[in-house]
Amino acid sequence: MNQVRAVFRSNRHVAVLTALLGLLAVSMFVATILGKASISLPEMARMFLNRLAVFDFEPTWRAVDETILFQIRLPRVVGGAVVGGALATAGVLFQGLFRNPMADPYIIGTSAGAALGATIAMMLPVGVAFLGFGLVPILAFVGALLTVLLVYRLARVGGKTPVVSMLLSGFVVSGMLTALMFLLITLSDDLHPRIQSVYVFLMGGVSVSGWEQLAVVAPLVLAGVMAARLLAFRLNAFALGEEGAAYVGIEVERDKLAILALGSALTAAAVSISGLVGFVGLVVPHAVRLVLGPEHRLLVPASAAVGAAFVVVADLLARTIVSSGELPVGIITALIGPPLFIYLLRRGGKEYAF
């Protein structure tokens, strides 16, 4: 009778999270040492030690190798982790809020808004830069947030914003914005030479180079993941439904807005450096829930770590599996995510037991 089972015991949480952060570290390490430019491991180690100003090894490597490692490969690895962590966390937030297995970070129109913003940016002849961001990431970010604001506003009736109305208005607004984007692409002659970049954005190509953008986005995403962890007990209560959540003391409208704003900001941050990377926000929270259960205090940080590792590995594949050039990482995540998920689902995990 009094054998307290380990459901809430934090020892288990600590053990699981340590293991997952280890997994993330290993995947980032592997993604750093592998790449098309082959740099030997001892050389890499010496480059790092030089950077840390611990040692001063005589360079036996080409200067370009150092640039590749520190200015191209490493920012991409970190960028992949940031995008994956942000999307998986946003996925947990939206699935929890909507109590819906179909919800993903793009469900209420962020993707369509970001895509339209990016398309407009590509049409404009000006090359504004702000904090190291070009016009495309800036307008993608703004487009995503404006869309969520519009969807939220449209779904609001009589001081309340029922989640069903939000899903519906998200669906409708997405449709219109996507149509507008294709209209622009069709009508604009300026865009035709750059049609390739539009597609790369839509398919989710991580476009991080250098550290300037990451210096802005990475702290934002880290803070977002921590904020999501603090909302975890409220997300658990939302599993009771809006009325049920109110019965256990949740200020439903206020907390709904907080969850929505946080999820949208995380999504917009990810989109601004990577375009539309699909399936991460949908599949990762599900997979983690199948293995670890739906309790959000563990689900939030675990999904963030798994999502980060997943995109890091997917991006490693995206830049190494084809001999010429590279693939958008979104294609890889959409190709390897679903089979992994189906495997977990069929293995007999219980995510939805009715």
């Binding site: 459901v7 007990f233 409220r234 009325e243 309790e295 219980k350 939805y352």
Partner: protein
């Protein structure tokens, strides 16, 4: 000491009144059954008392606190609700569901401690679902689920418990088991209980006071013997019944007479 009090509480859903000028109160430790036909306002009244619907006119007080400006967190530490329908979207375990009852006592930085765990265990033991703690909520039978939701409500450590037709979807053995449990909670813990009841015979057996609603108004309020008369049943429900005395408890016992 009053557990709750409504003063001329009126509520409309936009298309006509659901409740009109309800003035009702209950003492602490009372066990009140709400009866009345479908659509008479039983559920709406429970929502008003729980504070999740604001009265359009009039006031609702919980233990002296006006619900109009009260915060959900404060209200849900006083009153717990067992709703009629209950669905969980994911594979939560029983213990995790019961732990949700501790939500009003948690903050962003205070996770469930061993003290919270002890309260959850106690609530499960009270209801007698200790051995279900590791099972998936959605795999339980209707009767078991109802007990889990009751345990979650008890984990809130409320002084007032509201239930919306708690026995409707249960088999007769589970109906009796649940009502016996409520009676025991009422007697041994002094918990005030207000339940919308669908089965008039069970309501008469377990509730010392019955409040009858018709079209959003209170039309009768008193002990079962005073409320459950053939003329009242005919007026409120439009049904023809014979009222007899229950052979062992002497409370009214109704038999339907087909027209």
């Amino acid at each position: 000491m009053l557990a709750f009090r409504t003063e001329d509480a009126t509520f409309s859903y936009g298309n006509g009144f659901a409740l009109r000028q309800i003035s009702l109160s209950a003492n602490e430790g009372e066990m009140v059954g709400l009866i009345g036909p479908n659509g008479s306002g039983k559920s709406t009244l429970l929502r008003l008392i729980s504070g999740i619907l604001p009265a359009s006119e009039g006031e609702v007080y919980l233990d002296g606190l006006s619900l109009r400006r009260a915060r959900r967190k404060a209200v849900s530490r006083m009153v717990a609700v067992v709703p009629q329908q209950f669905q969980m979207p994911f594979a939560f375990r029983v213990e995790e569901v019961v732990m949700l009852g501790r939500t009003p006592f948690l903050g962003a930085f205070s996770d469930s401690s061993s003290r919270e765990q002890a309260i959850v265990t106690q609530a499960m033991d009270w209801v007698g679902i200790g051995e279900l703690r590791g099972r998936f909520f959605n795999e339980l039978s209707g009767g078991e689920r109802q007990k889990v939701v009751l345990a979650m409500a008890l984990a809130q450590q409320p002084r007032l418990l509201l239930l919306d037709e708690p026995t409707t979807h249960l088999d007769i053995n589970h109906q009796v088991e649940l009502l016996e449990l409520l009676k025991r909670l009422n007697r041994e813990q002094g918990l005030t209980i207000v339940a919308a009841m669908h089965d008039l015979n069970l309501a008469a057996l377990y509730f010392g006071r019955l409040v009858t609603l018709k079209a959003g108004r209170i039309v009768a309020d008193g002990v079962p013997g005073a409320v459950l008369t053939p003329s009242m049943i005919a007026e409120v429900f439009g049904a023809c019944v014979q009222v007899q005395s229950h052979p062992t408890t002497q409370v009214p016992f109704m038999i339907v007479v087909p027209p």
